[in-house]
Amino acid sequence: MEYVIEMLNIRKEFPGIVANDNITLQLKPGEIHALLGENGAGKSTLMNVLFGLYQPEKGEIKVKGKPVRITDPNVANDLGIGMVHQHFMLVDRFTITENIILGKETTKGGKIDIKKAEKDVREISERYGLAVDPQAKISDISVGMQQRVEILKTLYRGAEILIFDEPTAVLTPQEIKELIQILKTLIKEGKSIILITHKLKEIMEVCDRVTVIRKGAGIGTVNVSETNPNELASLMVGREVTFKTDKTESKPQQDVLDIKDLKVKDSRGLGVINNLNLHVKAGEIVGIAGVDGNGQTELIEAITGLRKSESGSIKMNGKEIMNMAPRKVTETGVGHIPQDRHKHGLVLDFPIGENMVLQTYYKSPFSKRGVLSFKEIYSKAKTLIKEFDVRTPSEYTHARALSGGNQQKAIIGREIDRNPDLLIAAQPTRGLDVGAIEYIHKRLIEQRDHGKAVLLISFELDEIMNVSDRIAVIYEGEIVAVVNPKETTEQELGLLMAGSKRKEAGGENHV
């Protein structure tokens, strides 16, 4: 048996688009096989075909050499195919064990035999090195743990072939390391893995072979040992990609944003921002580096008026904006690319065109005496869609139907087009592929070169190091150090972010 899974010449159409066109993917037993492609290239569609959620128009699927028809996920389960979804499918209020056995409960006299289930779960988790507490509730465990539960779910159902959909998108660097270890253990135990991803680093680290798809078409399969990140990136995007962001020396001018002694409490009334000082000048990009949960979110919310501040001052071009209503803040020239594009950035059930005027709909020319001019709105949308390369069937398409990268481009287009003096970019490239990341970084630097101030918040050190002109390290709601990206190293930043050099830096601040 040469292949455990063969997807041959798969074609899947949706009204108006061909999501998969003649794609072939063959999985060898015991390998980690990467499925690489840009956002919207058709990776998820292909895997949903394999998992029985979609029926292909053309092509053949073979499992262990035998042709099969996978009509729904139950068939896929029976064939030993398990999927670890990017967005977890767990019941928050259930325990880990209850979640794992859901739908496959072992019963004794009509009652669930929870003792046996817990024993089974413990057994599997020990065998694959996936340590979990079977009695813990999902709502009490970390995202990394929840992912383990998802993996255990597939193993409990006897999966031989595991599909991981962007498994690292939601994890912290430490959790990613653990996941990679888990993947290796799974292979050792005889499983085969398909890893959907667009992170080249991970592919180089754990995968054996990689199948690349671009715009719905299969580009080919290569051995990881015979390739390099640059080649993979250009295969994926279809052109050369540079990883280093080209930029000239910054020319900082006057202060645009000036924060002094800011104090903010979180929803539980605990201080999350404590005497924070920060300023951003026109013509520079300041990157905020820090481990998630050190006050980054609250800082952005305080600046943009979404959260009340306790004390201190936030000045925008010299004007006090602390505790102003969000619209007033926006009108002082603040643009904001939000961290969570689905929650804050877009109204997903609105056409993409109407999303383009989310902050400006009430102003001329979009609204005259309270009546909207859809002609103006959609002509603006058309321009932005073209200028920012948002790939959408039309400007009337609902935002929900766009891929993540294109949604993000739409938001960025909208925010930059308002020409704000200060652009706040919170994790602007989260979950995006290299092509889109490169594009977004270029746009941020372009804003800087036009003399605008840019505040970048990101958990990706690479991004902070590459794009920023100055790096401010945030730890427990305080800026503990400001460093020059050219003079620092990832190690030093890592230490600062962990708070271990806090005293030293804090001491300097007090002088």
Binding site: A325, L358, G370
Partner: protein
């Protein structure tokens, strides 16, 4: 098949299924279904008098449907249309009996009083939702009972001397029209239908064409994004409930100033407000859909009165059919899958 087509076909299929199951029930209980439907038809359209009555019944249905739909489109469930309708009815009649003014002032004043009363009844749950996150479904249901008993109290003590109904409203505040009555063989058809149709236009224009409507819809879909974009979410929630309540209040004015001309003690709810939920649901919460849905329910209600007389079938059967239609609309997912299957086979 396009989504638009599907949105039209699904309610039609739901109506057909409702009628079909209703037929089965009639046959099973030993009634003559054919005769019942003929009686139903005759009762709604057999004579011009009946048609006039249908339009009269459709009038408050349209407004109640608009009230539910408006709230729904902005992300809220207004189950309190019934209560808002009752206070609107009382307010209109109150203005109608208390003043003696020229018609050009008196009638609009009475109509506006109804809208204002309904709006106020909607404002309370809106405020509680916006400020304290109290769920509007609970509050609006409670407000229905408050409306029922408070209006009964007012009718008994303030508007009459321990009588169980008010005086007739003065002619200058009445929506009744001898012209329309004459046209329809002396049915109770009144000018209110024009107000209802105007409100259909207002709802469509407000929601789809104005920047305020854009805001209301945005808040309905995604409060977080609306807040991020600088919209005042609380104010929009309250505004939405106020407008919804105003539509419901107007539905009450139709009864108070048009159909009856007085307000009477009620032993229970009128049911028009609750039927409004069904109208909005069947009409897909869109202005045109609501007109057709109201027309259907209005004809069924009026036509049903003829069923015991002509076919010996209890008119409660129509309530069962209406309930079945609502059930099939609510279960439209089923119908959609079915349509998908059929249209796919057609292509192959």
């Amino acid at each position: 098949m396009s989504n638009r087509m599907k949105n039209i076909i699904v309610p039609l299929v739901a109506v057909l299924l409702g009628v079909l199951v209703g037929t089965i029930i009639m046959i099973a209980t030993g009634y003559n279904a054919g005769a019942a439907f003929i009686a139903l038809w005759n009762g709604a359209f057999g004579e011009i008098y009946y048609s006039g009555e249908v339009v009269r019944q459709v009038t408050p249905y349209i407004l109640a449907g608009l009230a539910v739909a408006f709230a729904f489109r902005t992300g809220l469930f207004n189950i309190g249309v019934e209560g808002q309708l009752i206070v609107g009815w009382l307010a209109a009649v109150w203005v109608g009996v208390a003043f003696d003014l020229p018609k050009v002032i008196h009638l609009p004043l009475a109509v506006l009083a109804a809208a204002a009363a309904g709006a106020f009844w909607g404002f309370i749950p809106g405020l509680l939702k916006a400020k304290f996150k109290v769920h509007e479904v609970i509050v609006t249901i409670m407000m229905n009972y408050v409306a029922l008993h408070v209006t009964n109290y007012f009718i008994r003590t303030v508007l009459s001397d321990k009588s169980d109904r008010t005086e007739m409203i003065s002619e200058s505040s009445s929506l009744r029209s001898p012209f329309l009555e004459g046209l329809t063989d002396y049915s109770r058809l009144h000018w209110g239908i024009l107000i209802a149709l105007t409100c259909v236009f207002i709802m469509w224009f407000l929601l789809e064409k104005t920047s305020k409507g854009y805001e209301l819809r945005a808040v309905g879909f995604n409060q977080h994004a609306s807040e991020y974009a600088g919209m005042n979410v609380s104010r929009n929630i309250i505004l939405s409930m106020v407008i919804s309540g105003a539509f419901a209040g107007l539905a009450g004015a139709m009864e108070g100033l048009g159909t009856f001309g007085y307000a009477a003690i009620k032993g229970g709810f009128t049911g028009v407000g609750f039927d409004g939920i069904a109208v909005a649901l069947l009409g897909g919460n869109g202005p045109i859909g609501i007109i057709f849905a109201a027309l259907l329910f209005g004809s069924l209600k009026v036509g049903a009165l003829n069923m015991p007389l002509e076919a010996g079938v209890p008119n409660e059967l129509v309530d069962i059919i209406i309930a079945l239609i609502v059930f099939f609309v609510a279960a439209s997912y089923m119908i959609r899958i079915f349509i998908d299957r059929i249209s796919k086979k057609g292509v192959k």
